[in-house]
């Protein structure tokens, strides 16, 4: 199978999604379908710098390789790739197969003043992997880490595993499965994202509660910086000084390259309990979800879909909001936990038309139809965006977290702002919301918007909508990103959210670890 040059994943997946596109299309009437630029027609800029001899054994400056490592997978990235814009292609791509080669790259690039862009699965949706050198640099090199893809060690007593940073989700789970273990970190990008990418972007994963971010699953990290190796201690916990792992999580490649990490793994779940609860009233559904988030029941899945999200995902078509609940354990039945959660939902008018679903034993996911429907829809999401682009639909998502107190105004404010922008630039459109994660003190709302694209004008349309969304998030007390990272796309929002003295502190750390500023310049740090 061949990966798409411009789109999400393997080629030839789009036809299967035609139903979803059709459902979305009914909002927009006649659409103008198009085809991506052919590989043979690509035009790439001349490299600013030749491949240094010391790196030539594992470097590649061929146009198609450079094109494949030019963009991430944001809506705007895909649109640019679709139309053949590769104006910011890296000068060359290095593909190290071991730590020593990573070290060589940093060494050579530090000496030659070349920017180094760590590239895992390239699934960034925030412009986090663009090869844009700073003014004082002579070029930019993208470092493809996907050959650092091995499970190195397993400690089955402590349930930890040392895993190389460049491994993709499915390979990671496959290697762990041979030990009966799982990381259970399933971001929507799972198929084409890497452990190292999850760590440096603080990716949000499978668990709706407790272990929401990859941060919680990191035991220790080996990160190579231009100043040498930073290896945090191999400990379950410590109170000795500020937590070094938490400085690496979220650093977005600006401090160094994560080589590998000891991760907290677990036995594969054997007991599952799930249900889909329908609510006529969204605010009653929100109240029920909050009560569950504050109950200490710790569901693995607790995703509330508003009426539009439920419709788009074919979970409910009658205007209901739907709360998808899932509990899982490798140790014990989760029946009691689900029963109590359902009791809570009933207090808020929730009904469970298909009843709860319980399953014991390996294999398969929840038996509940809506749950499975939801999961299939979830994993095909990134493919769907390709189909939408091709069909002429502008489709994107953004996400945040806020307190429960702030949520009602944020939901209304963001929805109105984005709806207004859609009306203005697309002549209409739809915005929907689900919770991806919930905390005792607030939800993480995830918004999807759809509008009719103007061929050739998508980037301007998108920017107007994105700006409206980002401004509303800030205004109503939401973070600029709960798990998508800052990259370049969210720098303005992050600059407002990040306390100035924290920004100064992070710049001071950057200066110490990467004094020549070669690591992923322009990403994350305000003012850089």
């Amino acid at each position: 199978m061949q990966r798409s040059r411009w789109g999400w994943g393997y080629e030839g997946q789009l036809d299967a999604l035609s139903g979803a596109v059709k459902r979305a299309s009914q909002f927009f009437g006649q659409l103008q379908s198009a085809m991506p630029v052919a590989d043979a027609d690509l035009e790439l800029p001349t490299p600013r710098t030749p491949i240094p001899a010391a790196l030539s054994a594992f470097a590649d400056a061929s146009p198609l390789t450079r094109a494949r490592f030019t963009w991430g997978k944001s809506y705007t990235d895909r649109v640019r790739g679709f139309y053949g814009d590769y104006s910011i292609a890296p000068d060359f791509v290095v593909q190290p197969t071991n730590d020593e080669q990573v070290h060589q790259v940093l060494d050579v690039c530090d000496r030659l003043q070349l920017a180094v862009i760590p590239f895992g699965g390239g699934s960034s949706v925030t412009g986090g992997v663009e090869a844009r050198p700073s003014a004082r640099q002579r070029g930019a090199v993208t470092m493809d880490l996907s050959r650092l893809d091995q499970l190195l060690e397993v400690d089955s007593v402590s349930l930890t595993a040392r895993i190389q940073a460049g491994i993709f989700g499915p390979a990671l789970e496959k290697q762990l499965a041979t030990h009966g273990l799982t990381l259970r970190h399933f971001p929507q990008s799972f198929e084409f994202s890497t452990l190292g990418g999850w760590i440096v972007t603080r990716a949000g994963g499978h668990f709706a509660t407790v272990y929401t971010h990859i941060d919680e699953l990191v035991q220790s990290v080996r990160m190579l910086t231009p100043q040498g190796l930073l290896e945090t201690p191999h400990l379950p916990a410590s109170g000795a000084g500020p937590d070094g792992n938490r400085l690496i999580c979220g650093s977005e490649g600006t401090f160094g390259v994560v080589l590998d990490a000891w991760m907290r793994v677990r036995p594969r779940p054997r007991f599952r309990a799930g249900a889909s609860v329908h609510f006529k009233d969204y605010w009653q559904a929100v109240a029920a979800t909050r009560a569950i988030a504050q109950s200490g029941l710790f569901p693995a899945n607790c995703r509330l879909l508003d009426m539009r999200e439920a419709f788009l995902n074919q979970v409910a078509a009658d205007g209901s909001s739907v709360l998808v609940l899932g509990f899982e354990s490798a140790d014990h039945s989760m029946e009691a936990g689900l029963a109590r959660a359902l009791e809570i939902t009933r207090d808020f008018g929730g009904v469970c038309p298909k009843g709860p679903s319980l399953r014991e034993g390996e294999g398969g996911e929840r038996g509940d139809d809506s749950g499975e429907q939801w999961r299939a829809s979830f994993l095909s999401g990134p493919y769907l965006q390709d189909a939408m682009i091709q069909a002429g639909i502008l489709a994107d998502t953004f996400e945040t977290a806020c307190t429960w107190q702030a949520f009602p105004a944020l939901y209304e404010g963001v929805t109105q702002a984005v709806q207004a922008a859609l009306t203005e630039v697309c002549g209409g459109g739809v915005i929907s919301c689900r919770f991806t994660h919930v905390y005792p003190d607030g939800p993480a709302p995830y918004f999807t918007f759809l509008g009719k694209a103007k061929r050739g004008g998508e980037l301007e349309q998108w920017l107007a909508i994105k700006n409206a969304a980002s401004e509303a998030l800030g205004k109503f007390g939401g973070t600029i990103t709960h798990h998508h990272a800052v990259g370049r796309m969210h720098k303005a929002g992050y600059a407002k959210e990040c306390p100035p003295l924290l920004a100064e502190s992070l710049r001071a750390v950057k200066q110490r670890l990467d004094p020549h500023g070669i690591m992923n310049p322009g990403v994350l740090l305000p003012g850089e």
Copy 2:
């Protein structure tokens, strides 16, 4: 009630503990009791600097005040206070009642080159509150934060509360209780430690799992640095850059003064389930505890006492190890969780002589006798150390965390090293161990040691034992501190544990936030 000048808490608490001292004494034969130096006989050094006029309204340079703020509450601190050593008393003590006065202190001290030592409850057991100026400074001022003691705001929807940093544990819980809420952070120092102290030392609290450290309960912090206010955003979670709260947690007053924080609070528990499980074989008990830590049952209490710890705490006298289990919830019965945990313990030969104990409704703690016994013993621990000092017993604790894989060798290695040191410097003694917290990937073992003190030679004795313990912790893969902080006492161990580039990074942050190095100099940071 008057607080002891040299000892733990209120005066006149020692008699009630005579039974515990008697039990300990049986290990040591004839002991040589003594009395502390009287207040009237104290000799304090002449202040290096007068009180600046700008601070005179809330500063105090009287000898007794300076004495009370000279030491923390480590064994060595208490011994020094007991014998009347106040050679490092601060030049004066400031007692701000509002943020503006804290700001004034930092401003004036930054200008005059005076060290500022933030002092909460003064319960540091690691030399974290000593007024020792650096070579370039002209004196040292201790900042008593205990008048910043108010609950400022409550968000009962999001279950958060904004609380001033100088509030002591009991007052904090009392103020929250009027809203039906609780922080449920009960370190052993609870009675005489503050929220701000908990945050900057990454204190370990009540919950044995999930919310083990105060870090997890911090939503946002306002910290005043010499360069201004650093206020982290008021959010349940974010993926935007490295987590600023985690840079403040564990900074031990070296970056600035925490003014207040939004904390995650919760309704008071209504459902409790507890049991004490006895094991003939310690390693079976460890295996059972590991299985529970990895089960996802999330007990609030999961403290395994080895046979000596069980004996000293009167929980078992027959050589059994005892696992004290507790579950609690404000939402639902914890009977099923406890039942499954007990099932696990039975697989490893655990027996529960008194059966499980279930309780519903407000008030009281676990009904199980051993559990209550344990709690009473736990909270009187710090008082007990005073009585031991007076009775002539050298008594102290140290704690760590390591992986489950590393634990057996660490337990044996640490026990042997400390036992050998006790034999050498005390002519014998006893060392015991309990787990204070457990993680899926490892336990947090907490060791207590007792020996016969040589009057006047306690500090040398203690140092020999402490060095043996710290060296063994490092050698066998334990952290130098899981929740007691680094301070001055653990600096050597921390310097070995902290990756050099992380130490460099923290120094860079310090340089940015406190360029003149006035904040708690000599604490935490390697090489400072």
